[in-house]
C-alpha cells in the first residue's frame, strides 16, 4: 500500500528555527504588539514546526476556546509527546490565550491578524506599500537584484575567510564589521580583525542559517542602539512577505525602520538606487527569510550547473569542485588540500592534514560532512548514500583521533582510615553526584572540583564530631 506514513525525518522536525528561542524570551507586551501585524504573524507561523503549524490552523477558525481534552484527540498516541511540546512552544510564544489550563484558544490579537493574513483584509499596511511606478526609471530586474545581494553577501564571507591569509579583499562596511565582531565570528588580534573558530564554523553553514545568525546578532544589539525591537522585527517580517522584483515605498515606515535601511543595504537584503531614495526593492535574501530555499539560487559560478551543487567527491578522497567562485574556493581550502585549479574547476583531496587543519580551527567533522552534502553536485545525488561512506567515516575517525584522552580536574581522596570511613565519604560524594572514578580495592575515589568544598566540610564536621 502506498504510504501515508513512513518516510519521515524526525531529526528535522525537532530542529527549532533559530529565531524562535529569541522570540520566546521577549515580553508578552512586545509580542502582542508584534502580532498586531498580519505579516509578522504569517512569517512567524512559517518558522514553526509542522505540528505547531497544524495546531494553529486547527484553532484559527474556532470562535470559542476548546477543551484541552478534546484537543488531545487530534493526535495519535505516538504523537502525544510532540503534541505537548508543540503546545508548550506555542504558549511560550504567547500564541495561546492566557486561561490555557483547561481551555485552549489562540490569543485574540494573533487570531485576528492571522485571519487577516490568510484572507487578506484589515488596514494594517503590514505587507509593504508598493511604490508608484516611476515614469523615468524602471524597477531593477530580478537578475540585477540577485547579483547585488550576492555581491554584498559574498563580500562579507570572503572578507571573513581571507582574514589572516595576507590577502586584502574588499572590506565590508563598518556596520557589518562591527556585527561580525560582536557575534564573535571575528576578533581583534594585533590590531587586525581575524576570523575565530566560530567564524570558521559559520562559513560552513548554509547561507540561510548564516543570514539568520547575523540577523539574530543584529536583534541582540537593537536595544543598546535605542531602537524599538518590535519595529525592527516587524520590518524584517514585512520584507520576508514582499514580492521579489517589486519596488516599495518608504512612506509607511517608522523612523526606526528608516534607520534600518542602511544596515539592510549593507547586508544585501535590499536595494536602493540612492541612500536618499524614497523607494526600495527587497532582494531574494529578504524574500526567502522564512523559507528553507537557498536564498541565493544563482551562484556566480558560470562553469557549473546553475543550482547549488558543485562538489563531486570520490571514494578515493579526491574532490572535484566545479566552481570559479573565489569564495567557494576559499571555503573549500579550509578542509581540502587543493592540487590543481582550472578556470572552472578546483581539484583537491581530503587528506588527514587538511582535515586536521580544519579541526584545529574549530570546525567539526559533522560540519565538513554537512557542507559536502549541501553542495554535492547533482550527479552525486544519484548515490545512496550521497557521500562515500569511507570518506565520511574517515573524517569522523580523524576527529576522534584528536580526542584520545579526556581530562577532568578534581581531587583524589585517598588514605582513608577504614573501609567504613571510605564508604561513608564515598556515599556522600555520590549523593552530590561528583564521583568521576572510584576503586574500592585501593580505597580511593576521584571527585570533581565542584564537589571539593562540600566534601572537605563533610569530612571536617565528621572528624570534629567524633572527636578525632
Amino acid at each position: 500500500m502506498p504510504t501515508a506514513d513512513g518516510t519521515t525525518d524526525d531529526q528535522q522536525e525537532h530542529r527549532l528555527h533559530a529565531l524562535l528561542p529569541f522570540l520566546q524570551t521577549q515580553s508578552q507586551t512586545s509580542l502582542t504588539r508584534l502580532y498586531q501585524r498580519p505579516s509578522s504573524c504569517l512569517s512567524i507561523f512559517r518558522l514553526l514546526g509542522a505540528v505547531e503549524r497544524q495546531l494553529v490552523m486547527n484553532l484559527l477558525w474556532l470562535d470559542l476556546p476548546i477543551q484541552t481534552s478534546t484537543m488531545s484527540s487530534w493526535v495519535t498516541r505516538e504523537g502525544k509527546a510532540l503534541f505537548d511540546d508543540a503546545l508548550a512552544s506555542l504558549a511560550r510564544l504567547h500564541f495561546l490565550s492566557n486561561n490555557s489550563a483547561i481551555k485552549l484558544g489562540l490569543s485574540t490579537t494573533f487570531k485576528t491578524s492571522m485571519r487577516h493574513a490568510i484572507t487578506g483584509g484589515g488596514t494594517s499596511v503590514s505587507f509593504g506599500v508598493p511604490a508608484e511606478p516611476d515614469e523615468n526609471r524602471s524597477a531593477p530586474s530580478i537578475d540585477a537584484l540577485d547579483a547585488y545581494a550576492l555581491e554584498r553577501w559574498e563580500t562579507v564571507l570572503h572578507y571573513m575567510v581571507s582574514s589572516g591569509t595576507g590577502q586584502t579583499p574588499i572590506k565590508p562596511s563598518q556596520g557589518v564589521l562591527f556585527l561580525l565582531q560582536r557575534s564573535g565570528l571575528m576578533a581583534m588580534n594585533q590590531g587586525q580583525l581575524q576570523i575565530t573558530s566560530s567564524g570558521f564554523q559559520f562559513l560552513l553553514h548554509t547561507p540561510h542559517s548564516q543570514l539568520w545568525e547575523l540577523l539574530l546578532q543584529y536583534l541582540q544589539m537593537v536595544e543598546e542602539r535605542q531602537m524599538d525591537l518590535v519595529e525592527v522585527l516587524s520590518f524584517l517580517f514585512m520584507l520576508s512577505t514582499m514580492e521579489l522584483g517589486r519596488e516599495y515605498s518608504i512612506e509607511s515606515l517608522s523612523d526606526t525602520q528608516r534607520a534600518m535601511l542602511e544596515d539592510l543595504r549593507d547586508y544585501g537584503l535590499m536595494w536602493q538606487r540612492r541612500a536618499s531614495s524614497r523607494r526600495f526593492s527587497p532582494t531574494r535574501l529578504a524574500t526567502t527569510l522564512t523559507s528553507s530555499l537557498p536564498p541565493l539560487p544563482t551562484a556566480t559560478s558560470t562553469g557549473g550547473a546553475k543550482d547549488q551543487g558543485f562538489i563531486v567527491l570520490e571514494t578515493n578522497y579526491r574532490l572535484y569542485a566545479y566552481t570559479d567562485n573565489p569564495l567557494q574556493t576559499a571555503v573549500l581550502n579550509l578542509f581540502v588540500t587543493v592540487k590543481w585549479r582550472f578556470p572552472n574547476l578546483v581539484v583537491g583531496a581530503i587528506t588527514r592534514e587538511s582535515v586536521r587543519k580544519a579541526l584545529l580551527n574549530g570546525i567539526t567533522a559533522d560540519q565538513i560532512i554537512s557542507y559536502l552534502t549541501t553542495y554535492a553536485h547533482p550527479q552525486m545525488r544519484k548515490n545512496r548514500p550521497l557521500l562515500p561512506v569511507t570518506v565520511q567515516d574517515q573524517i569522523r575517525l580523524w576527529e576522534l583521533e584528536r580526542n584520545r584522552i579526556k581530562t577532568q580536574e578534581g581531587f583524589l581522596y585517598t588514605a582513608f582510615a577504614s573501609q567504613a570511613d571510605y564508604e561513608y565519604v564515598l556515599n556522600y560524594a555520590r549523593q552530590l553526584d561528583v564521583v568521576l572514578w572510584e576503586n574500592a580495592a585501593k580505597r580511593c575515589f576521584f571527585g570533581s572540583v565542584e564537589g571539593h568544598t562540600n566534601i572537605r566540610g563533610f569530612i571536617e564536621r565528621r572528624t570534629g564530631g567524633s572527636g578525632g
Binding site: E401, I405, G410, L412, F446
Partner: protein, 67 residues
C-alpha cells in the same frame, strides 16, 4: 584521609602506555598516581604539555599517502 589535587585522565590503554613512557623521561615526571588501566592522575599544571607531547608522539605513528 588525604585529598590530592590533580587532573584525571581517562584514555585507552595504548595511550596510557605512551603516557607512562613520557613520564619516565628525566626531569619531566607529571604522573601523581597510576590509578588503573584507563585512568591516570597527573599534575594540573602539566596538562597542556602532556597533551602536546602525546599529540607529537601519536603523530609519529601516522603515515600519509601524500608524502
Amino acid at each position: 584521609m588525604r585529598a590530592v589535587r590533580g587532573v584525571l585522565i581517562t584514555c585507552d590503554s595504548a595511550v596510557k602506555q605512551i603516557l607512562l613512557t613520557l613520564d619516565e623521561r628525566p626531569g619531566q615526571s607529571f604522573i601523581i598516581e597510576d590509578l588503573d588501566e584507563f585512568h591516570v592522575l597527573v599534575r594540573a599544571d602539566e596538562e597542556q604539555r602532556v597533551r602536546r607531547e602525546l599529540e607529537a608522539e601519536l603523530e609519529k605513528n601516522t603515515y600519509s599517502m601524500e608524502a
